[in-house]
């Protein structure tokens, strides 16, 4: 990749500002509350933008572009029914309990509502997950920098071996993220998430504009692609008729209800930004503000994937081929030979190349595999001249870093408050916990780096980790739903339900298999009793099973155990808590009014792109 001094300048400027914000915030970090909870003093719009930014990490941007190229506009289900209803729900109904209970973290809320063991289980599993996720983010970023050859010219200039680029990328990102969180805590992380939000918009909006113009606008894009690509609901009545391989019931129950509510309503990674806002009213508004840009993000991150497929590559610029081709002297061969990867690429999406043989990789039926993850990077390289290319790359790097940062701040809070203060060192001074938080940040980053390196030596570790996370996360929402809306729910029930929900997810995964997959990491490692048309369908149904088992068991066990005194549950359970008053707010600022407006917009979008 040929970057000029201008591109470097833009990237350096971003890093300078990111660290500068950390330094500027350092003097405000006086108590542990300032550090871990941003002093609970940020305005709603900042927290709202950080709320979606925290989720907009690397895997998200690259992954959504990839799915856009693979499945088309149906990918936006992950943003529309897969996020918006849950964000409305958490804002209108759940936030009063999170914010009003004075809990400092989601696990702490579980202790207030249920008991110590439920909190310990949730805190431990969450802490482990955040460290691993930030490590995976780090690994993905270093890999992408390697593939894009961002630093190659720099390294050649200083005569450094190119093999060090991976280490360099890991260390640089670790130092920057560590730097600004160590200095400015959650405030710094949130401010940088907002900065990154605007950068992504600034970098991707012109990409979509130029790309659309090139393929002849929306109508040109529609003409260039198969019909199913530009319609999100076509063929949803039957799992075999649409590219996702999911039918509407699995989609709406699995994705829209269990998975999405489980993530947006219980994951401290996003909830922490809402809990940092300056009042309960702001906290309720945070997810609602976030929902507006979230609704339009498919046009920024998914559309480039579609354009990548539709772009005709007669004028190929510096397009990336997949994977570093070790074998550059591929023999000139016969027409159907797999040694010429360019023949199999689709638009800007190159075919996957086996780095050892230099041949195109194929699936079991002999179709060539495409490297969809390169959709967004190739779009940037194809459409952006120097100058704005620097901006686009900065946006991409920024998204990797804020994904890491959100995980790291969630980790240091849960570690310090829920594990260290609760079980290791009680009753220390506030400044002690503040110091602990800073060192927990260092520890969290070091563990992330270890994860990133583990991912380089064990191929499957990323898939395995994500699978394990999904087992732990799948049943969570049932516990929170029952805890907040049914006063009878007991601690023993919540704990047993959570654990059995996870077990149910594991068992379901062991018993089912997506079509075209071999038993193993994809499922079926106990025995195959059912086969799903796609891996996505299997994921959704795993979540549905985990949720249902947790829900049913929690209800049964609650009825058999002794409930807590109602007086202890005020502020924690819906029916026992005074409803938040809204009548002093202007009508358009009331959460319920905003919620209705959001739902109307959501329906309109689905109708337009049905």
């Amino acid at each position: 990749m040929d970057l000029t001094i201008i591109d470097w300048l833009i990237m350096l400027l971003y890093f300078a500002f990111v660290l500068g914000i950390g330094f500027a915030l350092k003097r405000f970090m006086k108590t542990s509350k300032d550090f871990f909870q941003a002093g609970r003093s940020l305005p709603a719009w900042i927290c709202g933008l950080a709320f979606i930014s925290a989720n907009l990490g690397a895997q998200e941007v690259i992954g959504m572009g990839a799915s856009g190229a693979k499945y088309g506009i149906a990918t936006s289900h992950f943003y529309w029914i897969g996020a918006i209803p849950a964000m409305i729900f958490v804002g209108v109904f759940m936030m009063p309990f999170y914010y009003g209970s004075k809990a400092r973290s989601v696990p702490e809320f579980l202790r207030l509502r249920f008991d110590e063991k439920t909190r310990a289980y949730n805190a431990c599993s969450f802490a482990v997950m955040t460290v691993f996720s930030s490590g995976i983010s780090m690994y993905a970023m270093a890999r992408l920098i390697q593939t894009l050859h961002v630093f190659d010219s720099l390294f050649l200039k200083f005569n450094l071996p190119l093999g060090w680029i991976f280490h360099f990328a890991i260390i640089i990102s670790a130092i920057i993220v560590l730097g600004y969180i160590f200095l400015g805590g959650l405030t710094s992380a949130i401010y940088n998430e907002v900065l990154q939000f605007f950068l992504i918009v600034a970098g991707f909006l012109p990409l979509v504009w130029v790309g659309l113009k090139n393929v002849g606008g929306w109508s040109g894009l529609k003409a260039a692609l198969p019909v199913a690509y530009t319609h999100s609901w076509r063929g949803m009545t039957n799992a075999h008729n649409n590219p996702l391989g999911v039918e509407w019931f699995g989609l709406s129950m699995g994705l829209a209800f269990v998975l999405s509510f489980g993530y947006w309503c219980t994951d401290f990674l996003v909830i922490q930004t809402a809990m940092a806002s300056d009042s309960e009213e702001s906290a309720r508004r945070v997810p609602l503000i976030a929902a507006v840009p979230k609704m339009f993000f498919p046009f920024l991150v998914i559309l480039p994937g579609l354009i990548a497929i539709a772009t005709t590559t007669t004028t190929q610029h510096a397009m990336l081929q997949s994977a570093p081709t070790l074998n550059t002297t591929a023999a000139p061969a016969a027409a159907n030979d797999l040694s010429d990867p360019t023949k199999f690429s689709k638009g800007l999406i190159p075919a996957k190349v086996n780095p050892v043989t230099g041949k195109v990789m194929t699936d079991e039926r002999g179709h060539p595999l495409l490297d969809y993850d390169l959709a967004i990077p190739n779009m940037l390289l194809h459409y952006f001249p120097t100058g704005i290319l620097g901006l686009g790359l900065t946006a991409l790097l920024a998204s990797f870093m804020s994904g890491m940062a959100g995980n790291v701040t969630a980790f240091n809070t849960v570690w310090t408050y829920d594990l260290y203060q609760s079980y290791i060192h009680k009753n220390a001074s506030d400044s002690h916990y503040l110091k602990m938080g800073r060192w927990a940040t260092v520890g969290g980053i070091l563990l992330s780096m270890a994860t990133a390196y583990a991912a380089t030596s064990f191929n499957n570790i990323m898939d395995t980790l994500q699978l394990v996370f999904s087992f732990v996360n799948a049943p969570l929402f049932a516990t929170f739903l029952l805890g907040m809306f049914w006063k009878r729910t007991t601690g023993h029930a919540a704990f047993t339900g959570l654990v059995s929900g996870t077990v149910a997810a594991v068992v379901h995964h062991g018993l089912t298999l997506p079509a075209d997959a071999h038993p193993g990491i994809h499922g079926g490692w106990i025995t195959v009793v059912h086969s799903y048309p796609s891996e996505m369908a299997q994921n959704f149904w795993t979540a549905i099973w985990a949720f249902s088992v947790n829900f049913i068991l929690t209800v049964i066990i609650s009825l058999m155990t002794k409930p807590r005194e109602e007086s202890e549950l005020v502020g924690l359970v819906y029916s026992l808590t005074p409803k938040p008053v809204e009548h002093h707010m202007a009508w358009y600022a009331r959460p319920k009014v905003i919620a209705v407006g959001l739902i109307a917009m959501l329906i309109a979008l689905n109708l337009i792109f049905r």
Partner: protein, 88 residues
């Protein structure tokens, strides 16, 4: 929090916007714009970023001044903004 994010953010967009605008002015009609559908995207987008940066910077500055002008009257209840959904 005492640092208004809009000030540093506005500054950053101003500087990046300026860099892109100047680059765009110097590269008018250059072949590098073949890939961006013939548009001088650096110039166009540079100006957009300049405008956005300026608005953010000015908003941040005015709200900073307002906070400095009227001393907070013993309330830390941020509900004061009555109606404007943005808070400050």
């Amino acid at each position: 929090m005492n640092l208004d994010l809009r000030i540093p953010m506005g500054l950053m967009f101003l500087i990046v916007g300026a860099i892109m605008t100047i680059l765009g002015l110097f590269t008018r009609g250059s072949v590098i714009y073949e890939r961006s559908a013939g548009m001088n995207i650096n110039l166009i987008w540079g100006v957009v970023m300049l405008a956005f940066g300026l608005i953010m910077f000015l908003l941040g500055r005015t709200s900073d001044k307002r906070v400095a002008a009227e001393p907070v009257e013993g309330t830390n209840r941020p509900l004061g903004g009555r109606g404007h959904g943005m808070g400050h």
